[in-house]
């Protein structure tokens, strides 16, 4: 099974604090705030879950895997995730 945003909304709604519409809106905003932080280059640290970091990659030479032609890959920014120790222990009991 795959957990989706719809399941998270359902779980939040089941706390009997918010309506279904409010729950959906809140979960949407929550992920939007995380995306905004990362887009501005600021890491997001969720204790007990893990850390999302923005890392700069230097320009490098690569190849087109289909044709084998050498190409220059421009410098870019990527998001990486490191699992927290707590979550890691819970996944590896």
């Amino acid at each position: 099974m795959t957990l989706t945003k719809a399941h998270i909304v359902e779980n939040l709604f089941n706390q009997n604090v918010f309506t279904k519409t409010e729950s959906a809106q809140i979960v949407e905003t929550l992920f939007e705030l995380i995306k905004q932080s990362l887009a501005s280059g600021d890491d997001v640290l969720i204790s007990g879950f893990g850390k999302f970091s923005v890392k700069g990659k230097n320009q490098r030479r690569g190849r087109n895997p289909q044709t084998g032609d050498p190409i220059i890959l421009s410098p870019r920014r990527v998001v990486t995730f490191k699992c927290s120790g707590v979550l890691r222990e819970r996944i590896n009991p």
């Binding site: 779980n11 992920f31 995306k35 887009a39 979550l87």
Partner: protein, 91 residues
């Protein structure tokens, strides 16, 4: 941004109490943790997806002492960034 800052920003953005925002943040990440512990995939459209990958054990060295150590097999969540987030971060 830390979890408590996320809670504050969520409370402000949605006009809800800090307590309500904290509940929302906790339910969200607990839902994802429970799924990953059960080795289920997590997929948040526009943000990214997580799946638990199994890694073999190997013989390694303690980089400080050079001592030979046995690294045991492990399972770790792997995050694949979603298209929208990937593009927004690299702009």
């Amino acid at each position: 941004m830390t979890k408590s800052q996320l809670i504050e920003e969520l409370a402000r953005a949605e006009g809800i109490t800090l307590k309500a925002a904290e509940l929302a943040v906790n339910v969200t990440f607990e839902s994802m943790e429970t799924a990953l512990i059960a080795e289920d995939r997590v997929e948040i459209r526009g943000f990214g997806s997580f799946k638990v990958k199994a890694y073999d054990g190997y013989k390694g060295r303690n980089p400080k002492t050079g001592e030979l150590i046995e690294v045991r097999p492990k399972r770790l969540p792997f995050f694949k960034v979603g298209k929208e987030l990937k593009e927004r971060v690299d702009r």
